[in-house]
Symmetry: C2
Subunit: 347 residues, 2 copies
């Protein structure tokens, strides 16, 4: 009781460990950094004492001198939207294995918030930043985050199979090629004699959405099919639900729906079945984008264009590590393919 010095027990410091192990403070620092030279038995002793004292190096202090915070900022519009949450989950695990931690930031729908958010985030000094958000340009990101090089997820438009060069402020890029998956999907639909395809969109100005719609248009044109009728959505279940109803109120003889994402496809399916009294896939076929975990649920059992989540996360982590190994390297790139997963909503 009386021996405990102050009320709030200070956290153990390298100094205390050094004193207790009869070594210098520098030795303690070295014990925790693998690539330094230190007598093995000495290192073992220090680590043992450290554990007794419940000591680990303070990352704030470490960041201050080494310039590495080991924090990776992730900017999302909605953590709880399905694809994002699954990607954050996998990314957090992978980063943790490499000694990093995920720092989460949410954008407002209010666009004006963004500059302030970026400045706010920069204060935490992340080593890298990944933006899942559509309304912030990578060059803006790079300009504001003067130390971290941001990673931009680029959904290739038609004809962009060879990714365009990066100019202006430096950023790295994950290029997502959607052509293969869309081609497989359209081929499958055409094989079933589909003639009139509708596209239930995502957020109108979103690059992922624009790229998907453009790619769909091109593939349809290449195969001599009519361009899609567009139902305006925003990647959400509710908007897709409403958009689908509107599509059939107009009555243009749509016999297949391409949704901008899986959740939108769920909304379309439920509207078809529960509101319009149509059968899926007999009356109308439905295809989504993403292949989220829910897509195999029996109520939907969705045929969808798949992004390999694990491969995507590995590519992101590779980008981060390569960038940290060489902070001045020119823009780094990784590329990802897509493919179709066939389930029960086409057939």
């Amino acid at each position: 009781m009386s021996e405990s010095g102050s009320l709030a027990p200070r956290r153990a410091t390298a100094e205390m460990v050094a004193r207790r192990a009869n070594v210098s403070r520098v030795a303690v620092s070295r014990a925790f950094n693998p690539h330094t030279s230190l007598k093995p038995e000495k290192r073992a002793l220090i680590l043992k004492v450290a554990q007794e004292l419940n000591y680990t190096p303070d990352r704030a202090a470490r960041a201050l001198v080494s310039g590495r915070s080991h924090l990776v900022g992730v900017i999302v519009p909605d953590v709880c939207s399905h694809w994002e949450s699954q990607e954050i989950d996998a990314l957090t695990t992978a980063l943790q294995d490499e000694g990093f931690a995920t720092l989460l930031f949410k954008t407002r729908t209010d666009y004006s918030m963004d500059e302030r958010l970026l400045a706010y985030m920069r204060g935490f000094n992340p080593d890298s930043v990944i933006a899942f958000v559509e309304n912030v340009k990578p060059t803006t990101l790079a300009r504001v985050l003067d130390r971290a090089v941001p990673i931009y997820i680029h959904y290739a438009r038609p004809g962009e199979e060879a990714p365009p060069p990066v100019d202006g402020p430096l950023f790295d890029r994950l290029n997502v090629l959607q052509r293969t998956g869309v081609e497989q999907a359209v081929a499958l639909l055409q094989g079933y004699g589909v003639e009139r395809i509708a596209y239930v969109s995502g957020v109108a100005k979103s690059r992922a959405n624009l790229a998907r719609e453009a790619m769909l248009r091109e593939v349809l044109a290449d195969r001599g099919m009519a361009p899609p009728i567009v139902g305006p959505g925003d990647f959400s279940y509710d908007k897709a639900y409403a958009a689908t109803i509107d599509l059939f109120r107009i009555g243009k003889g749509v016999d297949a729906i391409f949704a901008a994402n899986d959740v939108g496809a769920f909304g379309a399916i439920d509207a078809l079945r529960h509101e319009l009294g149509l059968r899926v896939p007999e009356d109308v076929k439905v295809i989504g984008f993403d292949d989220i975990a829910q897509s195999h649920w029996k109520s939907y059992n969705l045929t969808t264009v798949k992004f390999d989540l694990n491969e995507r996360v590995r590519a992101l982590v590779r980008l981060i590590l390569r960038r940290l190994a060489d902070p001045t390297a020119p823009s780094l790139q990784e590329t990802l393919q897509t493919s179709l997963v066939v389930r029960g909503t086409v057939g």
Copy 2:
């Protein structure tokens, strides 16, 4: 070109801002800390220059001296499980408004990982830690995180309406009282003449699951109903799907299912409809726990025991702020009620 000093442009520092604004470095620090005394026009000038130089204070350096990292650690088993992702989303937004950032950590299924994970997390020096994970005791958490006081989410068992006292290492607590919601649910079922209730469980040893099952048992006993038949699940769709099928293979005349969470209820509903050829709610009624966003989707339209997410997040943020205002205060408590949301799976 030749005027830029080094290759990698150093990030702006308080020193540079001070020099450029013709003030002392201390003044710059004060300009960014609201509660300090500084001539208004001087503060304005400094902030203007800071913006020109793209400067914000380095939080690592700030944390080092102030002892506040403005980081809140969140430990989750699965970011992508629905309730967790929605809570993380709301929490991140709320914390951001208060000047904090969310630091995400994932546990392994492997239990032995946890001690290492906690030590790992402590290195980042979070101001507070919230554990959504079931297999780590709050006292362990408190012992390892010698500075931050962890927040523990306690699901009250029957008879725990007055929360039990905290002993041992200090931790704060959010008490979730589930009695009201379960009572409303059972009353509703009984009103429809239900006689044989099954409980599709969550992870067996999880405290949320144990509390829910115990509460259900007590309420059923109080109303003179038979105890529930238990189908073993793990909070996942797939396990609940399989457990539901097994329940009806045995054929004990179950006419209502209580699932440990909404996703489990979805699995039960799909098994009933698509595998067993039963109607919901005509043949079997289903009730879940959580009220996640998907519960109103037409395919499920689930009646469920609701946790008010926003209120829950506000309570968590209150706990964090109160604890930071008084780090030595005795264990803080907040309490949350539940209630039933009636939709289409009972009727």
